[in-house]
Symmetry: C2
Subunit: 366 residues, 2 copies
Amino acid sequence: MVEFTRVQEDDLRRLCEEVFLGMGLTREDALITTDVLLAADLRGIDSHGVARLSFYYDGLKSGLMKARAETQVISETPTTALIDAGGGMGAPVSYRAMQKAIQKAQDLGLGMVTVRNSNHYGIAGYYAMMALDAGCIGMSTTNSAVFVVPTYGRDARLGTNPIAVAAPAGEERPYVLDMATSVVPFGKLENYSRLGKSIPLGWATDEQGLPTTDPVGLVKTMRGGSRLGGISPLGGHSEEQGGHKGYGLAVLVDVLSAVLPGALYANAVYPTTDEGKPKPSGIGHFFSAIRVDAFRPLDEFKASMDDLQRRLKTAPKAEGQERIYIHGEKEFEETERRKRDGIPLNPKVVADLTRVAGELGIAVKL
Amino acid sequence: MVEFTRVQEDDLRRLCEEVFLGMGLTREDALITTDVLLAADLRGIDSHGVARLSFYYDGLKSGLMKARAETQVISETPTTALIDAGGGMGAPVSYRAMQKAIQKAQDLGLGMVTVRNSNHYGIAGYYAMMALDAGCIGMSTTNSAVFVVPTYGRDARLGTNPIAVAAPAGEERPYVLDMATSVVPFGKLENYSRLGKSIPLGWATDEQGLPTTDPVGLVKTMRGGSRLGGISPLGGHSEEQGGHKGYGLAVLVDVLSAVLPGALYANAVYPTTDEGKPKPSGIGHFFSAIRVDAFRPLDEFKASMDDLQRRLKTAPKAEGQERIYIHGEKEFEETERRKRDGIPLNPKVVADLTRVAGELGIAVKL
């Protein structure tokens, strides 16, 4: 039985800020990066919250991620921009890129900004949701480390490549889709592997490209960078259940987030030197905003969003089921709970945070 | 053994044009609608080609679709537009809406046009592909007849809601994703039902919301409009294999294609009178174009698209598999075959076409 430690949001926030300041980020960048991490923790997306702090810390320490990178606008039009992140942290440049997309949408109806030469940016949903208060539909995608096998392939060639879209509602909560384009994220295989449990058939294929229920060997080879076997695209490993569609969505994310800005794509991301040492990830991101009232009055749109949601939520339930959810709903409810009761951290995360804080001489009580 | 009749593209094209002219469409609208249907037939998407001619014919005859509708631009900005299709045919208004989106992208980098009060528009991929020659990434979505069950629901509440995206390449063929957001389209259930075959578990759920292998009862209730049971979203009926993601994508298509333009959405589409008589479908569409060179030079983008495709196609194959496809590749190859060998029509389609031609007094040899 794993003992979780519950930590209040503000305490975690302070710790993250101090760590990022300690690693040389500007105050503003430290606040942004912390806010993106905490948003994941509050929403219950534990894999992308402070559990990643040591990953960022190690990246900054080794120089793979730059604490103070020079970002550069490579090209810009009234509706679009391409930003080179200069190998810096993913969150700050992404926050500003989405702000820019929203500003362009305010001015001209639509805004789209892409980023290259960046790093892991946290949860895609954070950036999509930034559009909500501006009366916009927000969207973000990013490519990512190589874990996903193309349909009828044997080795991983694509990332779990998330897509996030957020749309405002009126009395109901906003619609927030934030999904990997694979059946499951890598973290889920890791959890099963750690617990010695079999994974359901359909999640992953082995080094022959055949469905497997064994996560252990898979996690080992994938972590080792050999990329033999991997996670199946949404819809599974073959065309029978539509796996080619999930594969197509993963490619789409590579096109928008990486080919469009000129970032690294497919299995070219997270390259290594000839000696096998890691080089900067080279990944890219995509951000867009659509101003709703360029099409129709925002209050009418919101009323329709409410009605759409209610038509789904009040529909008859399948046998044994009690609830139909709207995307984002679980996460909004979890945020309320965690703001009240604290954020549960597993012992491994507590140990990681303690190590990082210790190395930086930050006093921490968890 | 079903005998297929092979018909040359030009003969089918002439027949469709004459039918649409006979039903009162302008010459230009007849040509556009025909081109959209033939594109489906050539690409091998038989369910959306001339197999639908009698559906359009019946719609026009009954007045549910107007042959000469008055379309109206409801709102317009330099980057966006909202068009009311006036209850006309889906294809002509969609063709012009996508042209408008492309023109806006030529002028300002991005263009987005939504349409309401429309009808079935054929294959989504047709409109996305219109952007290719303009050096743009094209996208289109549409909502559609209610066949898809939300995760943990019992009844259908959403359409198979396709998403299409096309991106230009250099020496390789363009990337063309054109996918229903459900595991399979309704036509596939119909095929299995007709042949008396079981469907694979995962495609659909019955009137208790539980997975079923029996398509017969399902097709009957769904055709009858009672919408008990239905097709599962991409990822299946539960969260285990990611069905909530396909469900989320289906909702996204409703947001973009229907809520944004103020069209009917969810299970409000294809309404009926109190006496159960069909009223106009009321569906909507979404079109967008992104001019690539607003971000980076088109030739560089195309070279990266080629490289991305080759990294996937040349990857090691799963045991028993010989080929990894890029989206659109199968359809481009099928188009070449069918342009050469003719388009195979099954007897039911031949009978439908003969009936329609007969009623309009059009001489036809199939």
